[in-house]
Amino acid sequence: MPGVPGVIDRREALRRTALILAGVLAGCEARRTPAAAWRPRVLDPDQAELLATIAEHILPETDTPGARAVGVHRFIDAMVAESYGAEERHQFLTGLGGLDERARRARGRAFLACTAGEQIALLGELDRAADPFFRSLKELTLVGYYTSEPGATRELHHAPVPGRYDGCVPLAQIGRTWAV
């Protein structure tokens, strides 16, 4: 019988880790398209811009990149295109359109035509009212951001292979929320 698995030692496992990670990252790099070349799957360019703007208001650039820079809108576009069913997809796009209508009612212009302050005020109202569409958008934004490489490794703390478990350490020693 060819290759019932043998046991590999730790050094071998670590070597493989390095190889696999190198391979995967190389693959990732190859797929990484510059922002200008990105084409959304379900969003039109205006919707993509709207989404990127909202995501950035939810998690803005500080001493670490914000949601726009890490491409949260691309992640959301992929989820809506590939994970959502037709009905959910329709609901999502309707919800996004609803934000624009809300801006027109409140400010007399499209969301993106409002000032940043007006946009934030509008999103704040929806957030405090626990508006279901906005809260789901917020959740997607959080997922997209904190699972991105900058989100996980710069904004938060990430240890792919911790190697051990310590059940009670000073928070200061870790410093930040664990990404995973």
Binding site: V4, P5, G144, S148, P162, Y165, L171
Partner: protein, 565 residues
């Protein structure tokens, strides 16, 4: 190609946790052994294709594809270990159907690959005790076990030494100790709750789950790297599986043959000799073939083993092989779970954890122990509680108001410590919970579809209620805040502890297997997976399946040497 080796000394059907053990022990005792696996070949390490992927390298960041799950994995996707990184170790429900009545759902969680569900199991390793092995005799449900703890104790030792089980010795008669590797650590919040429970409820101990994750290197495997992503596969061999441990040991003997993509259709029975002579197999292309061996071990899993037996029909066994008792397929059990209590552990804001512990904590059974002065309760048997605490992470932000810099800064720090208690309760063996074969419909390989008829009884419902009440009381007594109970009532199968469809017993009229897992009706046929269990205990069953398997192999080999098979 394989014909020259036949008949094999032994044929093992299935390569999961019991098939792996049967293969190892049979090979090490000198038998040329054929393992037949219905799923694909998986090579340890190389085929753990998602093992080292980071969240940002996953197409859907771990969220998966919901539409696909609903279409192809409506059952498997309910399992806690199912997800974007592990989907390839679960079956496609659409391609592998079974039948349940509309009012009796059953969640059959399966992994069709070399190693079976040992790749995706929960890894808890508890010994059963005489409280379990005498349970049927004491309250009259099911049939008495033909074995007691003393019969299994040396075999528990044997399997634990090889597996490498970490845990604490507790000295409890109803949860016997073994020779453990160092336990995982409790975290700060669990330690606080443990002390609180002990103060308020003397005799209720919280301990670390005894688990097949290696806290130190063991027999060339591990140690566990504290990633808590076991079900992706672990090339460190940090947890026990057929691929990390038993099959390599079997292979080392030079006596192991493995075939994959081979579905066992039935066991071949020779009426003249009154023996099983081999198995009929259907390969991936639908071609049938036969393999012959001197003894046959069914380790295909509780439901699949029942399906094979029921489908092995002959003039003598018209309703299925080894089924003169009529009990094959019956007495299906699982554990109740998904009920308990949650709360917030106050304080400890300046404390955190390093690493991801691949297990939780556990409160052993404290009901119906048969000790003087214990509380009277309105149900039979008992439950244990799986527990775990941790600080909330960034995901809490989705449910709280807040936006912008303030939100981002807030989520940079972990949230409050949460603790959750979840009961795992014993299920009574009942004849009316059973599987049978659909008389008309078959799967693509031509196997009659399995029909599962299984529902909880009042006793299981009463256990759920007590879990919730006691869980909440313990958390409150330990000083937790915002304590709430929960009950995400899951149908049977949910706990993936299905067992009982070919039970052991003393009487051939009421049971399928004897004290050594030999079919009463067919002496060279052995069943050592979960099908053999006569009751369900409340603790996780895998370690007991393993001990029962190696004991059965020991018996089978000595009987073979005495020419009794």
């Amino acid at each position: 190609m394989i014909g020259k080796d036949e008949p094999y000394d032994a044929i093992v059907v299935g390569s999961g946790i019991t098939g792996g053990w049967a293969a190892k022990e049979l090979c090490e005792r000198g038998l040329r052994t054929l393992v037949i696996e219905r799923g694909r070949h998986v090579e340890h390490g190389k085929d753990y294709v998602t093992e080292f992927l980071q969240p940002w390298q996953l197409a859907h960041r771990g969220r998966g594809e919901q539409e696909l799950y609903q279409r192809d994995y409506p059952i498997q996707s309910h399992n806690y270990a199912f997800g974007e990184t592990t989907r390839h170790f679960f079956v496609n429900d659409r391609e592998h159907p079974y039948i349940t009545p509309d009012d009796k759902p059953f969640r059959w969680i399966r992994g069709y690959q070399l190693g079976g569900r040992s790749l995706i199991w929960g890894r808890a390793c508890w010994r059963w005790s005489d409280l379990d092995f005498t349970a049927n005799a004491r309250d009259g449900h099911g049939v008495d076990w033909p074995i007691r703890y003393a019969d299994l104790a040396p075999w528990y030792d044997h399997v634990e030494r090889f597996v490498g089980v970490s845990g604490e010795r507790l000295g409890l008669p109803h949860l016997p100790d073994g020779d453990f590797l160092p336990a995982w650590q409790m975290n700060c919040a669990e330690s606080v709750v443990k002390r609180g429970i002990q103060r308020a409820f003397p005799g209720r101990h919280m301990t670390l789950t005894r688990v097949a994750n290696l806290t130190q290197a063991h027999l060339g495997r591990g140690p566990c790297q504290a990633r808590n992503q076991c079900a992706r596969g672990c090339s460190f061999g940090g947890y026990f599986s057929s691929l990390s441990a038993t099959l390599p040991a079997a292979q080392k003997t030079g006596r192991l043959t493995v075939i994959t993509d081979a579905i066992v259709h039935s066991v071949i029975y020779d009426e003249r000799r009154d023996r099983a002579t081999g198995v009929r197999v259907i390969d991936a292309k639908g071609a049938a073939s036969e393999y012959f061996g001197r003894i046959v071990f069914l380790c295909a899993s509780t439901l699949a083993t029942a399906q094979i037996l029921l489908n092995s029909q002959s003039p003598r066994f018209a309703t299925g092989l080894a089924n003169s008792s009529g009990e094959v397929g019956h007495n299906l059990m699982d554990h109740i779970s998904k009920a308990g209590a949650r709360g917030v552990v106050p304080g400890l804001e300046d404390k955190y954890v390093y690493g991801r512990r691949p297990t939780g904590t556990y409160i052993p059974r404290f009901r119906n122990l048969g000790v003087r002065g214990e509380a009277k309760v309105g149900f039979l048997r008992g439950y244990g509680i799986q527990a775990g605490a941790g600080r909330e992470g960034w995901a809490r932000g989705a449910d709280e108001p807040g936006l912008g810099v303030e939100l981002k800064q807030r989520l940079r720090e972990p949230g409050p410590w949460q603790i959750s208690l979840q009961g795992y309760g014993e299920c009574l063996p009942r004849h009316e919970n059973f599987v049978d074969l659909d008389p008309a419909r078959t799967d693509p390989s031509g196997m009659p579809l399995l029909r599962v008829h299984c529902a909880w009884s009042e006793n299981e419902r009463a256990i759920r209620e007590d879990v919730k009440t006691q869980g909440a009381q313990m958390l409150e007594a330990a000083g937790c805040r915002e304590v709430v109970t929960y009950d995400d009532d899951g149908p049977p199968g949910f706990s993936v502890h299905e067992m009982g469809t070919a039970r052991m017993g003393k009487d051939p009229n009421t049971s399928v297997l004897n004290a050594y897992n030999q079919a009463h009706d067919v002496p060279n046929l052995f069943v050592t997976d979960g099908a053999c269990m006569a009751s369900s205990s409340c603790v996780n069953p895998s370690l007991t399946y393993m001990a029962i398997t190696v004991r059965a192999v020991d018996h089978a080999v000595s009987e073979l040497k005495r020419s009794n098979l």
